[in-house]
């Protein structure tokens, strides 16, 4: 709080979290009006339409996959993982920034998070939904995907709990559940606001039911805040564990290039890196279109850019250590993997990855660019491409050439791989478009607490 009172208007790094001049009433009106009174624009219908059509393409690609089997994909031995796992890791990583913003920054009392946590959590949920599709359709007989869960079957056998793939099932399903609960719990007081502000009886009933009859009693708030804080405390180790477990899928195997202890921390950093890039790619157009520059201020963009810069450097360190260990370990297969990345058939994507993830983001050191929404939007796009390439390199290079020369092979995605991948991006977009129309995209009650009048003066 002391920090905020020292805010000067000149210093962009300390731009206010919320522009001055707002009251409890105007904050409430401004955010709830987007849902309750603002008509959907043509741009919204175009955007949602594109997302919806791509979602249909995804369903078509999955439908054809169910008919024909995963032979329609580019996966084959030796590369059995391909796009499905690349996209799974990419999406789940993107989701991580949402939990970081909502939980970890809450514990660290970073109150600027209050204006971006709601849609960052929505982003998490939709990203996890996209991620969850891939392992389920990759199992070969997707209608038997429920075999992953320990249920008493007539076969009598149980899942193999010593396998990281099994840990993944538990980590990802726990993550999806906790993220959904956290998001819903945050929405309860705002549902009550929408219930009280709406003048359409049907909406009042819907929002009233969703609000669970929230009435803002001091006793309720007290329990609510305790539970919210505890949930944040639980979500924090959870989010770190999820990408750690995802990295175990690789690191526990003996494949050269995967079998390293640096994987968990560097996967988590990469997840947050790509997640913040996605947060910015969503926040920058949304704040512009819905006139929310007073709530999602330059301060938020600056801080996100700094997080990307920091996590990007951790990722760069990870690449450095991988290369160093390839040489230092003296293991000829590890050394060959590094050589193969630099000079092998996948060298072009590897150099692109280095450019996207390490070189381009360094422009964020320049304050002017950190303050420019257009520049941040472009850099974020580059980072998302780079992080996708990183997973492509990890999966493809190591599997394509491992221990036995006779079992080498190449992986080329087919149009079905691409349709499935682009389809999930469409599904993600369609969900985001729906979200901004039917739910308050900024947490109204947490924005109220940012106003100076929210503090009791004795």
């Amino acid at each position: 709080m002391d920090e905020q009172s020292k805010v000067s208007t000149v210093d962009v790094d300390r731009a206010p979290v919320i522009e001055p001049g707002y009251t409890f009433g105007t904050v409430t009106e401004k955010i709830s009006a987007i849902v309750l009174t603002r008509p959907a624009s043509n741009g919204w219908f175009v955007g949602f339409g594109i997302g919806f059509m791509l979602t249909m393409m995804l369903l078509y690609a999955i439908g054809y996959l169910f008919l024909k089997g995963i032979g329609i994909w580019g996966v084959t031995i030796p590369i059995g993982w391909g796009f499905a796992i690349i996209n799974f890791v990419w999406w789940i990583g993107i989701g991580h920034a949402g939990t970081l913003i909502s939980a970890i920054l809450l514990l660290l009392r970073q109150s600027w998070r209050n204006s971006i946590n709601r849609f960052a959590e929505a982003m998490t949920l939709f990203a996890v939904a996209c991620a969850g599709i891939f392992p389920a359709i990759h199992v070969g007989r997707p209608w038997l995907a429920y075999w992953l869960f320990p249920y008493p079957s007539t076969m009598g056998v149980w899942p193999q709990f010593r396998s990281p793939l099994m840990w993944d099932v538990f980590a990802v399903s726990t993550y999806a559940t906790i993220s959904a609960l956290f998001w819903f719990m945050g929405l309860i007081p705002d549902f009550a606001t929408l219930r009280d502000r709406s003048n359409k009886p049907a909406l009042r009933i819907v929002y009233g039911m969703l609000s669970m009859g929230w009435r803002g009693s001091a006793r309720h708030w007290h329990r609510y805040e305790t539970a919210y804080l505890l949930l944040a405390g639980l979500a924090t180790p959870l989010v770190l564990s999820v990408h750690t477990v995802v990295s175990f899928d690789f690191a526990v195997g003996i494949v050269p290039g995967w079998h390293t202890t640096i994987f968990p921390p560097y996967f988590v950093a990469g997840a947050i890196y790509s997640g913040f890039a996605m947060v910015l790619m969503l926040a920058i157009p949304i704040r512009k279109i819905y006139g929310l520059e007073d709530f999602i201020t330059e301060r938020h963009l600056q801080n996100s850019a700094k997080v990307m810069l920091a996590t990007g450097l951790i990722v760069a360190y990870g690449y450095g250590i991988e290369a160093f260990m390839g040489w230092y370990s003296g293991d000829r297969y590890d050394a060959f993997t590094i050589w193969n990345r630099l000079h092998g058939p996948y060298a072009v994507p590897y150099y692109l990855l280095l450019i996207c993830n390490i070189f381009v983001p360094q422009v964020l050191w320049i304050r002017k660019l950190r303050a420019s929404p257009v520049a941040l939007f472009l850099v974020s796009g580059v980072i998302l491409v780079g992080m996708w390439l990183e997973r492509f390199i990890i999966v493809s290079v190591s599997l394509s050439r491992d221990f036995l020369t006779s079992s080498w092979g190449m992986y080329y995605p087919t149009r079905w791989d691409l349709m499935t991948y682009i389809g999930t991006i469409g599904m993600f977009l369609a969900a985001i478009f729906l979200f901004v129309r039917i739910l308050p995209m900024i947490s109204i009650f947490e924005m109220r607490t940012l106003l100076p009048e929210a503090e009791v003066k004795e």
Binding site: G25, G156, F161, M212, G213, A218, W221, L231, E453
Partner: protein, 177 residues
């Protein structure tokens, strides 16, 4: 038991500070069954009203149950019900069971936090007497309300109204139940 036709007396305030001070004065005046409503959590207000600190215990129990469930499930399935030799590893290979034990701890504790909070708050409850006051719709926007329940031993319609008037509220209304 016959229900009192009056649920309580409600006063409306303009600011968080006014509500906080009013809650403190009401407590000091000897009223014990009161509640306050605000559009956002106000620090320290719950202590003035007298709120139990019961959520953490629920979460702790949830976490312990989750952790035990996670570990014992894996132990029973892999070492008791159907021991399977995978790569010569022991049936009870406990280090491999830690990850799922951890995830189940978080899962159960998190579910206990959210549903425990709702249950202890008596939610969902779509209908409540305070909603009978039309101005109460502002409690989710920018107004602050204090209520003295009619079940309070010190409650009497006229006296409580006079007392609340002394706190200089914006308005006072009787809440029918």
């Amino acid at each position: 038991m016959k229900r009192d036709p009056i649920y309580g007396m409600m006063a409306e305030f303009d600011s968080a500070t006014a509500l906080f001070d009013a809650a403190r004065s009401t407590r000091q005046a000897g009223y014990s069954k009161i509640d306050a409503y605000s559009p956002f959590p106000i620090e320290g207000l719950a202590e003035e009203i007298g709120a139990p600190h019961d959520v953490p215990l629920v979460v702790l129990i949830g976490g312990i149950v989750g952790g035990l469930t996670g570990y014992l499930m894996q132990y029973w399935m892999s070492a008791v019900d159907y021991p399977l030799n995978v790569g010569g590893k022991p049936a009870h290979s406990w280090p491999a069971f830690i990850v799922i034990t951890f995830e189940m701890t978080i899962l159960f504790a998190g579910i206990s936090a959210v549903f425990g909070m709702l249950a202890l708050n008596g939610l969902p409850m779509p209908y409540h007497p305070v909603f009978n006051v039309p101005r109460f719709a502002l409690a989710s926007k920018d107004r602050f309300f204090l209520i003295v329940f009619s079940s309070d031993p010190k409650y009497d319609a006229a006296g409580t109204r006079v007392f609340l008037q002394g706190l200089q509220p914006r308005s006072i209304s009787e809440v029918p139940s």
